[in-house]
Symmetry: C2
Subunit: 243 residues, 2 copies
Protein backbone atom coordinates (compact mmCIF):
# COMPACT_ATOMS: atom_id res chain seq x y z
CA UNK A 1 0.00 0.00 0.00
CA UNK A 2 1.44 3.39 -0.91
CA UNK A 3 2.08 5.87 1.87
CA UNK A 4 -0.56 8.50 2.67
CA UNK A 5 0.10 11.82 0.91
CA UNK A 6 0.01 15.26 2.46
CA UNK A 7 0.23 18.96 1.72
CA UNK A 8 1.07 21.88 3.97
CA UNK A 9 -0.60 25.27 3.93
CA UNK A 10 1.29 28.09 5.66
CA UNK A 11 -0.90 31.13 6.35
CA UNK A 12 0.43 34.60 7.08
CA UNK A 13 1.22 37.96 5.46
CA UNK A 14 4.42 38.10 7.51
CA UNK A 15 5.99 35.23 5.54
CA UNK A 16 5.16 36.72 2.13
CA UNK A 17 6.37 40.20 3.11
CA UNK A 18 9.76 38.80 4.13
CA UNK A 19 9.35 39.88 7.75
CA UNK A 20 9.32 36.36 9.16
CA UNK A 21 11.10 33.23 8.04
CA UNK A 22 8.80 30.22 8.21
CA UNK A 23 10.25 27.25 10.06
CA UNK A 24 7.16 25.08 10.44
CA UNK A 25 7.42 23.62 6.93
CA UNK A 26 10.91 22.31 7.54
CA UNK A 27 9.87 20.83 10.89
CA UNK A 28 6.73 19.20 9.45
CA UNK A 29 8.67 17.81 6.47
CA UNK A 30 11.12 15.98 8.72
CA UNK A 31 8.40 14.63 11.01
CA UNK A 32 6.23 13.38 8.13
CA UNK A 33 9.17 11.67 6.43
CA UNK A 34 9.88 9.78 9.66
CA UNK A 35 6.17 8.99 10.08
CA UNK A 36 5.83 7.52 6.59
CA UNK A 37 3.62 10.25 5.13
CA UNK A 38 4.68 11.72 1.76
CA UNK A 39 4.63 15.51 1.79
CA UNK A 40 3.90 16.29 -1.86
CA UNK A 41 3.47 20.04 -1.91
CA UNK A 42 3.24 23.15 0.21
CA UNK A 43 1.54 26.48 -0.33
CA UNK A 44 1.95 29.79 1.42
CA UNK A 45 -0.86 32.34 1.30
CA UNK A 46 -1.51 35.62 3.10
CA UNK A 47 -4.18 36.49 5.68
CA UNK A 48 -6.84 36.54 2.99
CA UNK A 49 -10.14 34.71 3.45
CA UNK A 50 -10.69 33.73 -0.19
CA UNK A 51 -7.10 32.64 -0.73
CA UNK A 52 -7.26 30.37 2.33
CA UNK A 53 -10.62 28.87 1.30
CA UNK A 54 -9.40 28.16 -2.21
CA UNK A 55 -6.13 26.59 -1.08
CA UNK A 56 -7.82 24.43 1.58
CA UNK A 57 -10.32 23.10 -0.96
CA UNK A 58 -7.72 22.34 -3.62
CA UNK A 59 -5.24 20.69 -1.25
CA UNK A 60 -7.83 18.71 0.70
CA UNK A 61 -9.17 17.23 -2.53
CA UNK A 62 -5.71 16.29 -3.81
CA UNK A 63 -4.16 14.75 -0.68
CA UNK A 64 -4.92 12.43 2.22
CA UNK A 65 -3.93 15.06 4.79
CA UNK A 66 -3.52 18.83 4.87
CA UNK A 67 -1.57 20.49 7.69
CA UNK A 68 -2.00 24.24 8.18
CA UNK A 69 -0.04 26.66 10.36
CA UNK A 70 -0.87 30.21 11.35
CA UNK A 71 -3.82 32.51 11.90
CA UNK A 72 -5.62 30.93 14.87
CA UNK A 73 -4.93 33.48 17.66
CA UNK A 74 -7.21 36.07 19.29
CA UNK A 75 -6.52 39.10 17.04
CA UNK A 76 -8.49 40.49 14.08
CA UNK A 77 -6.02 39.08 11.55
CA UNK A 78 -6.54 35.51 12.80
CA UNK A 79 -9.03 34.27 10.24
CA UNK A 80 -7.94 30.70 9.56
CA UNK A 81 -10.61 28.87 11.60
CA UNK A 82 -13.44 30.72 9.88
CA UNK A 83 -11.91 30.24 6.44
CA UNK A 84 -11.43 26.48 6.96
CA UNK A 85 -15.03 26.19 8.20
CA UNK A 86 -16.19 28.03 5.06
CA UNK A 87 -14.12 25.76 2.83
CA UNK A 88 -16.16 22.81 4.15
CA UNK A 89 -19.47 24.68 4.48
CA UNK A 90 -19.39 24.04 8.24
CA UNK A 91 -20.90 26.32 10.88
CA UNK A 92 -18.48 27.86 13.36
CA UNK A 93 -18.94 29.36 16.82
CA UNK A 94 -17.42 29.28 20.30
CA UNK A 95 -17.64 25.61 21.24
CA UNK A 96 -18.18 24.47 24.81
CA UNK A 97 -15.35 21.91 24.95
CA UNK A 98 -12.78 24.41 23.64
CA UNK A 99 -14.15 27.14 25.88
CA UNK A 100 -13.76 24.88 28.93
CA UNK A 101 -10.10 24.24 28.06
CA UNK A 102 -9.42 27.97 27.76
CA UNK A 103 -11.34 28.88 30.93
CA UNK A 104 -9.36 26.36 32.99
CA UNK A 105 -6.11 27.80 31.63
CA UNK A 106 -7.20 31.42 32.26
CA UNK A 107 -8.44 30.71 35.78
CA UNK A 108 -5.22 28.97 36.77
CA UNK A 109 -3.35 32.10 35.68
CA UNK A 110 -5.78 34.77 36.89
CA UNK A 111 -6.30 35.96 33.31
CA UNK A 112 -9.58 37.58 32.27
CA UNK A 113 -11.70 35.69 29.72
CA UNK A 114 -12.31 38.55 27.30
CA UNK A 115 -14.45 38.05 24.18
CA UNK A 116 -11.25 38.34 22.10
CA UNK A 117 -9.58 35.55 24.04
CA UNK A 118 -12.68 33.40 23.66
CA UNK A 119 -12.44 33.79 19.87
CA UNK A 120 -9.77 31.10 20.21
CA UNK A 121 -12.58 28.70 21.20
CA UNK A 122 -14.27 29.19 17.81
CA UNK A 123 -14.25 25.67 16.40
CA UNK A 124 -16.15 24.43 13.34
CA UNK A 125 -19.02 22.03 13.87
CA UNK A 126 -17.87 18.44 13.52
CA UNK A 127 -14.19 19.20 14.11
CA UNK A 128 -11.98 17.20 16.48
CA UNK A 129 -9.78 19.23 18.84
CA UNK A 130 -5.98 19.07 18.70
CA UNK A 131 -4.36 19.40 22.10
CA UNK A 132 -2.16 22.42 22.82
CA UNK A 133 -0.02 21.68 25.87
CA UNK A 134 1.76 25.06 25.61
CA UNK A 135 -1.02 27.65 25.75
CA UNK A 136 -4.28 25.65 25.87
CA UNK A 137 -6.04 27.21 22.84
CA UNK A 138 -6.64 24.08 20.74
CA UNK A 139 -6.12 23.38 17.09
CA UNK A 140 -8.64 21.22 15.26
CA UNK A 141 -9.10 18.65 12.54
CA UNK A 142 -11.98 19.20 10.12
CA UNK A 143 -12.32 16.54 7.42
CA UNK A 144 -8.72 15.82 6.43
CA UNK A 145 -7.44 19.29 7.35
CA UNK A 146 -5.40 19.73 10.53
CA UNK A 147 -5.38 23.34 11.69
CA UNK A 148 -2.49 24.37 13.95
CA UNK A 149 -0.87 27.50 15.34
CA UNK A 150 1.92 29.44 13.64
CA UNK A 151 4.15 30.02 16.68
CA UNK A 152 6.74 27.25 16.19
CA UNK A 153 6.74 26.06 19.81
CA UNK A 154 2.95 25.64 19.72
CA UNK A 155 2.90 24.19 16.20
CA UNK A 156 5.44 21.55 17.18
CA UNK A 157 3.58 20.62 20.37
CA UNK A 158 0.27 20.32 18.50
CA UNK A 159 1.90 18.19 15.83
CA UNK A 160 3.22 15.84 18.52
CA UNK A 161 -0.33 15.33 19.81
CA UNK A 162 -1.76 15.00 16.33
CA UNK A 163 0.69 12.49 14.83
CA UNK A 164 -0.14 9.99 17.56
CA UNK A 165 -3.64 9.82 16.08
CA UNK A 166 -2.65 9.53 12.40
CA UNK A 167 -1.70 6.23 10.82
CA UNK A 168 1.67 6.50 9.10
CA UNK A 169 3.21 4.37 6.39
CA UNK A 170 6.68 3.08 5.74
CA UNK A 171 9.32 5.64 6.64
CA UNK A 172 11.47 6.54 3.66
CA UNK A 173 15.15 5.90 4.32
CA UNK A 174 17.76 8.38 3.22
CA UNK A 175 21.55 8.35 2.92
CA UNK A 176 23.87 11.08 1.72
CA UNK A 177 27.11 10.70 -0.22
CA UNK A 178 29.38 13.74 -0.54
CA UNK A 179 31.46 14.10 -3.72
CA UNK A 180 33.97 16.87 -4.15
CA UNK A 181 33.68 17.06 -7.92
CA UNK A 182 31.58 19.54 -9.88
CA UNK A 183 28.13 18.25 -10.81
CA UNK A 184 28.92 18.36 -14.53
CA UNK A 185 31.47 15.61 -14.00
CA UNK A 186 29.28 13.24 -12.01
CA UNK A 187 26.05 13.78 -13.94
CA UNK A 188 26.49 10.96 -16.49
CA UNK A 189 27.36 8.10 -14.07
CA UNK A 190 24.69 9.38 -11.71
CA UNK A 191 21.97 9.32 -14.38
CA UNK A 192 23.03 5.77 -15.21
CA UNK A 193 22.81 4.74 -11.55
CA UNK A 194 19.36 6.36 -11.20
CA UNK A 195 18.14 4.47 -14.28
CA UNK A 196 19.29 1.16 -12.79
CA UNK A 197 17.48 1.82 -9.47
CA UNK A 198 14.04 3.05 -10.60
CA UNK A 199 12.52 2.52 -7.16
CA UNK A 200 15.00 4.85 -5.49
CA UNK A 201 14.99 8.60 -5.73
CA UNK A 202 18.54 9.83 -6.28
CA UNK A 203 19.02 13.58 -5.98
CA UNK A 204 22.11 15.71 -6.49
CA UNK A 205 22.47 18.92 -4.48
CA UNK A 206 25.42 21.01 -5.57
CA UNK A 207 27.47 23.07 -3.18
CA UNK A 208 30.30 25.54 -3.47
CA UNK A 209 32.21 25.91 -0.20
CA UNK A 210 35.52 27.75 0.09
CA UNK A 211 36.40 27.21 -3.53
CA UNK A 212 35.43 23.51 -3.53
CA UNK A 213 32.72 22.56 -6.03
CA UNK A 214 30.84 19.41 -5.15
CA UNK A 215 27.50 17.76 -4.63
CA UNK A 216 25.66 15.89 -1.94
CA UNK A 217 24.07 12.87 -3.53
CA UNK A 218 20.98 11.82 -1.60
CA UNK A 219 19.64 8.29 -2.05
CA UNK A 220 16.10 7.79 -0.78
CA UNK A 221 13.84 4.76 -0.78
CA UNK A 222 11.78 2.37 1.27
CA UNK A 223 14.04 -0.66 0.86
CA UNK A 224 17.13 -0.41 3.07
CA UNK A 225 19.00 -3.09 1.10
CA UNK A 226 18.51 -1.17 -2.16
CA UNK A 227 19.60 2.12 -0.57
CA UNK A 228 22.72 0.40 0.73
CA UNK A 229 23.46 -1.21 -2.65
CA UNK A 230 23.29 2.18 -4.36
CA UNK A 231 25.58 3.68 -1.71
CA UNK A 232 28.12 0.91 -2.34
CA UNK A 233 28.02 1.67 -6.07
CA UNK A 234 28.55 5.36 -5.38
CA UNK A 235 31.62 4.42 -3.37
CA UNK A 236 32.98 2.51 -6.38
CA UNK A 237 32.15 5.30 -8.85
CA UNK A 238 33.73 8.02 -6.72
CA UNK A 239 36.36 6.21 -4.65
CA UNK A 240 37.97 9.44 -3.42
CA UNK A 241 34.77 10.45 -1.60
CA UNK A 242 33.67 9.61 1.89
CA UNK A 243 30.10 8.56 2.58
CA UNK B 1 -2.09 51.90 -10.28
CA UNK B 2 -1.86 48.84 -8.04
CA UNK B 3 1.49 47.12 -7.66
CA UNK B 4 2.33 44.15 -9.85
CA UNK B 5 1.58 40.81 -8.18
CA UNK B 6 3.85 37.80 -7.99
CA UNK B 7 4.08 34.19 -6.92
CA UNK B 8 7.06 32.02 -6.14
CA UNK B 9 7.50 28.37 -7.07
CA UNK B 10 10.19 26.46 -5.18
CA UNK B 11 11.12 23.18 -6.87
CA UNK B 12 12.89 20.32 -5.12
CA UNK B 13 12.33 17.01 -3.35
CA UNK B 14 14.94 18.01 -0.78
CA UNK B 15 12.70 20.75 0.65
CA UNK B 16 9.65 18.48 0.99
CA UNK B 17 11.65 15.65 2.54
CA UNK B 18 12.96 17.96 5.25
CA UNK B 19 16.57 17.51 4.18
CA UNK B 20 17.09 21.13 3.14
CA UNK B 21 15.63 24.32 4.53
CA UNK B 22 14.62 26.69 1.74
CA UNK B 23 15.98 30.20 2.09
CA UNK B 24 15.20 31.62 -1.35
CA UNK B 25 11.57 32.40 -0.51
CA UNK B 26 12.55 34.58 2.42
CA UNK B 27 15.17 36.38 0.32
CA UNK B 28 12.79 36.93 -2.60
CA UNK B 29 10.02 38.16 -0.29
CA UNK B 30 12.20 40.91 1.14
CA UNK B 31 13.52 41.97 -2.26
CA UNK B 32 10.05 42.11 -3.86
CA UNK B 33 8.61 44.13 -0.96
CA UNK B 34 11.39 46.70 -1.44
CA UNK B 35 10.85 46.67 -5.21
CA UNK B 36 7.11 47.33 -4.97
CA UNK B 37 5.93 43.93 -6.18
CA UNK B 38 3.29 42.15 -4.05
CA UNK B 39 4.20 38.53 -3.40
CA UNK B 40 0.77 36.93 -3.04
CA UNK B 41 1.54 33.25 -2.74
CA UNK B 42 4.23 30.60 -2.90
CA UNK B 43 4.17 26.94 -3.75
CA UNK B 44 6.69 24.21 -3.17
CA UNK B 45 6.62 21.10 -5.35
CA UNK B 46 8.96 18.14 -5.80
CA UNK B 47 11.09 17.17 -8.79
CA UNK B 48 8.01 15.99 -10.67
CA UNK B 49 7.34 17.04 -14.25
CA UNK B 50 3.55 17.17 -14.06
CA UNK B 51 3.49 18.95 -10.71
CA UNK B 52 5.84 21.65 -12.05
CA UNK B 53 3.85 22.10 -15.27
CA UNK B 54 0.56 22.41 -13.38
CA UNK B 55 1.93 24.89 -10.84
CA UNK B 56 3.61 27.04 -13.50
CA UNK B 57 0.39 27.23 -15.50
CA UNK B 58 -1.80 28.10 -12.50
CA UNK B 59 0.56 30.70 -11.06
CA UNK B 60 1.44 32.33 -14.37
CA UNK B 61 -2.26 32.83 -15.12
CA UNK B 62 -3.01 34.29 -11.69
CA UNK B 63 -0.09 36.71 -11.28
CA UNK B 64 1.96 39.28 -13.16
CA UNK B 65 5.22 37.50 -12.35
CA UNK B 66 6.27 34.01 -11.28
CA UNK B 67 9.74 33.41 -9.83
CA UNK B 68 11.01 29.84 -9.66
CA UNK B 69 14.03 28.39 -7.87
CA UNK B 70 15.65 24.99 -8.25
CA UNK B 71 16.14 22.21 -10.75
CA UNK B 72 18.24 23.83 -13.49
CA UNK B 73 21.62 22.10 -13.05
CA UNK B 74 23.31 19.39 -15.14
CA UNK B 75 22.04 16.23 -13.37
CA UNK B 76 19.17 13.89 -14.23
CA UNK B 77 16.92 15.36 -11.51
CA UNK B 78 17.14 18.89 -12.98
CA UNK B 79 13.93 18.98 -14.96
CA UNK B 80 12.65 22.52 -14.43
CA UNK B 81 13.63 24.02 -17.81
CA UNK B 82 11.86 21.26 -19.73
CA UNK B 83 8.78 21.45 -17.51
CA UNK B 84 8.47 25.24 -17.89
CA UNK B 85 8.87 24.90 -21.68
CA UNK B 86 6.09 22.28 -21.65
CA UNK B 87 3.84 24.52 -19.56
CA UNK B 88 3.99 27.10 -22.37
CA UNK B 89 4.06 24.59 -25.24
CA UNK B 90 7.52 25.92 -26.23
CA UNK B 91 10.26 23.89 -27.90
CA UNK B 92 13.47 23.46 -25.93
CA UNK B 93 17.01 22.57 -26.94
CA UNK B 94 20.61 23.66 -26.37
CA UNK B 95 20.60 27.28 -27.48
CA UNK B 96 23.60 28.91 -29.10
CA UNK B 97 23.71 32.04 -26.92
CA UNK B 98 23.57 30.02 -23.70
CA UNK B 99 26.08 27.51 -25.05
CA UNK B 100 28.52 30.32 -25.84
CA UNK B 101 28.28 31.64 -22.26
CA UNK B 102 29.01 28.19 -20.86
CA UNK B 103 31.86 27.46 -23.30
CA UNK B 104 33.62 30.71 -22.39
CA UNK B 105 33.31 29.85 -18.70
CA UNK B 106 34.54 26.25 -19.21
CA UNK B 107 37.46 27.29 -21.41
CA UNK B 108 38.64 29.91 -18.92
CA UNK B 109 38.74 27.15 -16.27
CA UNK B 110 40.02 24.29 -18.41
CA UNK B 111 36.82 22.33 -17.77
CA UNK B 112 35.55 19.81 -20.31
CA UNK B 113 32.26 20.65 -22.05
CA UNK B 114 30.50 17.32 -21.49
CA UNK B 115 26.98 16.70 -22.86
CA UNK B 116 25.71 16.79 -19.25
CA UNK B 117 27.24 20.22 -18.66
CA UNK B 118 25.75 21.46 -21.91
CA UNK B 119 22.28 20.44 -20.68
CA UNK B 120 22.51 23.71 -18.74
CA UNK B 121 22.32 25.51 -22.09
CA UNK B 122 18.87 24.01 -22.78
CA UNK B 123 16.71 27.12 -23.07
CA UNK B 124 13.11 27.28 -24.35
CA UNK B 125 12.46 29.00 -27.65
CA UNK B 126 11.52 32.63 -27.14
CA UNK B 127 13.00 32.87 -23.62
CA UNK B 128 15.24 35.75 -22.49
CA UNK B 129 18.40 34.76 -20.62
CA UNK B 130 18.99 35.78 -16.99
CA UNK B 131 22.64 36.49 -16.24
CA UNK B 132 24.47 34.26 -13.77
CA UNK B 133 27.64 36.05 -12.63
CA UNK B 134 28.54 33.20 -10.24
CA UNK B 135 28.72 30.10 -12.42
CA UNK B 136 27.70 31.25 -15.93
CA UNK B 137 24.82 28.78 -16.56
CA UNK B 138 21.99 31.23 -17.21
CA UNK B 139 18.45 31.34 -15.92
CA UNK B 140 15.69 32.47 -18.27
CA UNK B 141 12.40 34.31 -18.52
CA UNK B 142 9.65 32.64 -20.55
CA UNK B 143 6.40 34.61 -20.70
CA UNK B 144 6.01 35.96 -17.18
CA UNK B 145 7.96 33.12 -15.54
CA UNK B 146 11.49 33.78 -14.30
CA UNK B 147 13.46 30.54 -13.90
CA UNK B 148 16.41 30.66 -11.52
CA UNK B 149 18.83 28.33 -9.74
CA UNK B 150 18.21 26.83 -6.31
CA UNK B 151 21.69 27.36 -4.84
CA UNK B 152 21.11 30.52 -2.77
CA UNK B 153 24.26 32.33 -3.89
CA UNK B 154 23.32 31.81 -7.54
CA UNK B 155 19.60 32.52 -6.99
CA UNK B 156 20.42 35.82 -5.32
CA UNK B 157 22.86 36.88 -8.04
CA UNK B 158 20.35 36.04 -10.79
CA UNK B 159 17.63 37.95 -8.97
CA UNK B 160 19.91 41.01 -8.83
CA UNK B 161 20.30 40.91 -12.61
CA UNK B 162 16.62 40.23 -13.17
CA UNK B 163 15.10 42.90 -10.95
CA UNK B 164 16.93 45.62 -12.86
CA UNK B 165 14.79 44.68 -15.86
CA UNK B 166 11.41 44.49 -14.07
CA UNK B 167 9.31 47.58 -13.38
CA UNK B 168 8.42 47.79 -9.71
CA UNK B 169 5.65 49.67 -7.96
CA UNK B 170 5.42 51.61 -4.76
CA UNK B 171 7.40 49.97 -1.98
CA UNK B 172 5.22 49.04 0.96
CA UNK B 173 6.44 50.65 4.19
CA UNK B 174 6.50 48.70 7.41
CA UNK B 175 6.97 49.58 11.06
CA UNK B 176 6.95 47.30 14.07
CA UNK B 177 5.68 48.05 17.57
CA UNK B 178 6.55 45.63 20.36
CA UNK B 179 4.03 45.20 23.20
CA UNK B 180 4.78 43.06 26.23
CA UNK B 181 1.19 42.10 26.92
CA UNK B 182 -0.51 38.88 25.88
CA UNK B 183 -2.38 39.10 22.58
CA UNK B 184 -5.74 38.51 24.28
CA UNK B 185 -5.39 41.83 26.05
CA UNK B 186 -4.47 43.92 23.01
CA UNK B 187 -6.84 42.28 20.54
CA UNK B 188 -9.84 44.59 21.06
CA UNK B 189 -8.07 47.98 20.75
CA UNK B 190 -6.05 46.56 17.86
CA UNK B 191 -9.14 45.46 15.94
CA UNK B 192 -10.57 48.95 16.47
CA UNK B 193 -7.39 50.58 15.17
CA UNK B 194 -7.35 48.27 12.11
CA UNK B 195 -10.98 49.19 11.36
CA UNK B 196 -10.13 52.90 11.44
CA UNK B 197 -7.19 52.46 9.03
CA UNK B 198 -8.66 50.26 6.29
CA UNK B 199 -5.82 51.06 3.88
CA UNK B 200 -3.18 49.75 6.26
CA UNK B 201 -2.50 46.13 7.01
CA UNK B 202 -2.01 45.69 10.76
CA UNK B 203 -0.75 42.30 11.85
CA UNK B 204 -0.11 40.90 15.31
CA UNK B 205 2.65 38.33 15.75
CA UNK B 206 2.70 36.83 19.21
CA UNK B 207 5.89 35.79 20.96
CA UNK B 208 6.75 34.05 24.19
CA UNK B 209 10.33 34.76 25.27
CA UNK B 210 11.72 33.84 28.69
CA UNK B 211 8.30 33.89 30.32
CA UNK B 212 7.24 37.18 28.70
CA UNK B 213 4.11 36.98 26.57
CA UNK B 214 3.81 39.72 23.99
CA UNK B 215 3.26 40.58 20.36
CA UNK B 216 4.99 42.44 17.59
CA UNK B 217 2.43 44.64 15.90
CA UNK B 218 3.40 45.27 12.30
CA UNK B 219 1.85 48.23 10.48
CA UNK B 220 2.22 48.11 6.69
CA UNK B 221 1.05 50.46 3.99
CA UNK B 222 2.02 52.65 1.06
CA UNK B 223 1.34 56.00 2.75
CA UNK B 224 4.11 56.89 5.20
CA UNK B 225 1.97 59.52 6.96
CA UNK B 226 -0.75 56.95 7.67
CA UNK B 227 1.75 54.38 8.90
CA UNK B 228 3.21 57.01 11.23
CA UNK B 229 -0.22 58.08 12.48
CA UNK B 230 -1.08 54.48 13.36
CA UNK B 231 2.24 54.09 15.17
CA UNK B 232 1.50 57.22 17.23
CA UNK B 233 -1.88 55.77 18.18
CA UNK B 234 -0.23 52.51 19.21
CA UNK B 235 2.06 54.53 21.47
CA UNK B 236 -0.98 56.08 23.13
CA UNK B 237 -2.80 52.76 23.47
CA UNK B 238 0.18 50.94 24.95
CA UNK B 239 2.25 53.68 26.59
CA UNK B 240 4.51 51.22 28.41
CA UNK B 241 5.84 49.81 25.14
CA UNK B 242 8.74 51.00 23.06
CA UNK B 243 8.40 51.26 19.30
Amino acid sequence: MPNPTAAMLVIGDEILSGRTRDSNLHHLAGRLTAHGIDLREARIVGDDHDAIVEAVRALSKAHDHVFTSGGIGPTHDDITADAVADAFGAAIDVREDARALLMAFFEARGVEATPERLRMARIPEGARLIENPVSAAPGFTLGNVHVMAGVPKVFEAMLDSLLETIAGGRPRLSQTFRVERPEGEIAAPLADLAARYPELSIGSYPFHDNGVYGANIVVRGFDGAQVNAAMVELGRLFPEAKA
